[in-house]
Symmetry: D2
Subunit: 321 residues, 4 copies
């Protein structure tokens, strides 16, 4: 058993970390913190998660005293100093922000000056299927962004094959976070579908770092949870559908949360699960891969728990099935 | 032809007033104003309405110079002083706020001190089907609230018959306005249905004023536009389904926007129309009436135009079919 | 441990029975059957439930050999003969159809001739909060309908107090079952809300049997899962909000799946849970109670498992938290 | 004035043709036919269109006697013989099926043997922005498919520039037609997004015929109306965002229904309009164009009316603004 904290449990991803930890057979959820919602019960904010714990104001010493590990679910920039405080006090940390996902140069191109560059070297990118061994030994893991999780799982098996890659990604609104804005207003989203940040979305950095050049365009979907990465790749050699399929089955043979399937998945297939469902094929010379995840599970909180399971030497699937 | 202004055209109801006026055969839309969005094109805010007019900062003299009549689509409290300025300058006004809908005493019980009590006496409640003649002669008409529009159309034929009345009303999110709040966040609304303000909603005042005592509870629906009032009445004498049906057909025989139908309507039946569809019957001693409207049309902007048509001596349906 | 079958696992409720049983600490799911989908994997029909079992053609002997208990999730009329076969072979049965929910006379008024009247006497109505002790000793339990589950939980504490009762109920589309019809077509439901069967819905029978006369009108909601019963009661004596609240807290003090709350619940609060959230109050002489459930969980499969837990002497919450 | 018929007015596209014709200043709607719904009022099937006409059984002579022109909204294969009957009788026809959209060889590759090859030579492809002059002189026009309408409007300005083209298209459910199937069941669609027919969708034929090779993948969106084509093109020479933008502005300068805009459109921007909104740019060497339409308007019925307007010598926008 390990004792854990969730820092920033008022947001969508943090709240789900808490919900998963609360039911996890080998984690004990001891501290949940929030900024604006401190003092409220987490179960008042998210009734269906049924976590009847009071949100506290964050205090590094209190967290360090009570816990062995922490999930930090703060916005980028705000996360790094908190991660630093907790690492200094010896806690294992899974950070859900962008602060430790990519090398400093890439980070600064997309996000501005890095708030804690000294920690970057020791951080491991937490895409389990890519970095499982490194995660096992890590004290600080950066859980990937939701878009890169789906896009990388769809694209990595093609890394050596891709002459060009196009990622048309679609995400439910929970990916935009809990803040009420014109963008997240029900009337803006309902009966709509819209591309956004076509000139460049920050999650591009993770694709650049771990796959290579790719055209990436996100779209906002009129649903709550769910994310699809539809990937189109011009291959640098002929490859037929059977070979594509075999490539994916080999790549993910031992990954408990990736399902390679015979037909295109829907995001509904994986709702409220930590699964990534992928269909890959080749049609008229274009290689296609479609990866569906739940953006809050495999795209955020579920993957963060998967990471911590590995860091603590637990079974990767504990608490996630 | 009359020249009109829409004051507060940035909000949902005001914008639709402008859209209807723009295509109206006998109105000329000359001024649209907004507070936070002044300087922007209305067509940038609401592309599908295709009204390519620049939103101006409100100026009473400018409006009075350019226009014969105005729709005021401000929140209650803010509306009354503006209405007063425009009335003083001689414009006919349809006010979409609550400021002139009910007598002063009722107003002050629900909304606080009235900002312009001197105008209340001359204001006519703009439920066309109830007040057609009075509206024809009026210079100031208060367009009814969305909930009372549906509830009153469903209940008024039963006024003499009702021992008790219960109104379970359901509205789409556009009824909550354009402000981004936790309540209007897509993730709060999607896959949800929720009663609210069960202890008392301000629209109760209009039911009290024009129907009498009734239990009224609103619910928020996960749709954009549309409102249903499901009304249950314990009658003070026996009345069968045929008699109920005849009562409604008589009541609405000459009303171009009320359809009395043989089966329960859906709110989708009237989407983007100024219609109110009503089904009324009697089952095991309970009289039931279900009224469906589009909350932005018959529940706000459409009805406001219907009012102005009458005030200007036009056909009631001009611009609305 | 008990070994269980789900008969009719291709439908929404049956599939969820299977999913809950598959993860239940004291049940072993051994047989899943389906009519039109026999031969397919349940996980192909419902990927997110992740139950990788092949649907078999129903065979009473095969089920009896493999299992101690069965969930029967057939339509009314078709269920009773199957239940009879399994009871004859000694299995404990939870039936999810209407066939054993109400006394014969009431059944025949709403559903037609009863297919197995001999079993009716021994069947227990499975609303746990009402019938817990009787369920513990039963061999055949009839899981309540989704509407009556919410309506009865909202109304039963008022049984002695109600002079009149009105139930305005709203259900998500999964309540209409898996059959593709004009009613369940996405385009019929989206951006809609519609009352239906206002002249009489079969679930009225359960209200009549266990509460008494009530006006009950169902509405179809544009959501997948979730059901709200908004109940309005004219009391036969004065009762204030505090007393109403106390009545509900007393009634449900020991019920693990009923939450009495201070504000109106949303159906989203209980999505994918076996909870019923109730808010009850009194406003201007009308008593109101709002009960939210997930129609597939507490309204069907979750409650069926809750029933079987009791029948088998397990903790009522096993597999349901 | 011209007198028109809608053959197949029970389906989504046919019904909208009737609704537009009914309000059109220069068309008189004289006959609406349907197969399974003959005898019903169109306003019972589609209340919000408010077309109170009785659906008749199709009779070529009756149509020819009453009408100058007809919209045929039958499925492919069934449309051609009907078109032939009406053309033989001298009516101008806009066919909404696939039967006359592409040359015979392409047709037969995707759809099977052509039912009326003799008419193919005289048919004009009704993408107004591409074929305006030919449409003006035509007696038989084939209204384009919904996907090709958006994709071609997005891609045609790049025809000479494209080395490779990828079209990731997303459509609302009304595009799947009125038939109730597992695919169109609300529970299948809600909270979902799914690619389909990735191995080849019949609308590919129109892209092949009028643009050239392109990878095209459709997705089903959880909305009623609306379609987005997100197009990614690898250009055969360097081209920057300004030049791309200029290309589109030139291409569509005189097209009343195409709006070239500065930011990505949402499908909601064009809901219930005949507009196509396009944003085109170049990012890191990839040219992108996003085209949003309402699949039932510009993607079907609206465009069909636009075609007929031209065929009859009317203003292209009559009845469509």
């Amino acid at each position: 058993m390990a004792s854990v904290a969730v820092i920033g449990a008022g947001g969508f991803a943090g709240a789900l970390c808490a919900a998963i930890a609360e039911r996890h057979p080998r984690l004990e959820l001891d501290v949940v913190t929030a900024r604006t919602d401190a003092g409220r019960l987490l179960s008042d904010l998210y009734p269906r998660y049924r976590v009847e714990r009071k949100l506290e104001t964050y205090d590094a010493d209190r967290v360090a005293e009570a816990c062995d590990a922490a999930f930090v679910a703060y916005p980028h920039g705000a996360a790094a100093p908190t991660v630093e405080e907790l690492r200094t006090r010896g806690l294992r940390v899974v950070d859900l922000s962008a602060d430790f996902r990519v090398p400093q140069e890439l980070y600064e191109r997309w996000y501005g000056p890095h708030p804690a560059p000294g920690l970057l070297g020791g951080a491991v990118y937490g895409l389990t299927e890519m970095n499982r061994e490194a995660i096992r030994g890590a004290d600080l893991v950066a859980a990937p962004g939701c878009y890169p999780t789906a896009a990388l799982l769809a694209l990595l098996p093609l890394k050596e094959l891709a002459a060009d890659a196009y990622v048309d990604a679609k995400s439910g609104v929970s990916g935009a976070g809990r803040e009420a804005t014109e963008t997240t207003h029900f009337v803006s989203v309902a009966e709509n579908l819209k591309p956004y940040k076509v000139e460049g979305h920050r999650h591009q950095a993770e694709l650049d770092a771990y796959f290579g050049p790719a055209t990436f365009v996100p779209h906002l979907l009129p649903i709550d949870q769910g994310l699809m990465a539809s990937c189109y790749v011009r291959p640098n050699r002929d490859i037929d559908a059977d070979e594509v399929r075999a490539l994916y089955e080999d790549a993910y043979r031992d990954d408990p949360f990736v399902e390679v399937v015979d037909a295109p998945p829907g995001v509904r297939d994986v709702r409220d699960t930590n699964l990534c469902r992928i269909h890959a094929t080749s049609v008229n010379g274009t290689v296609m891969a479609f990866a569906a995840i739940d953006n809050l599970w495999k795209g955020a909180a579920g993957q963060a728990v998967q990471d911590l399971n590995l860091m603590l030497g637990y079974d990767e699937t504990d608490g996630l099935l």
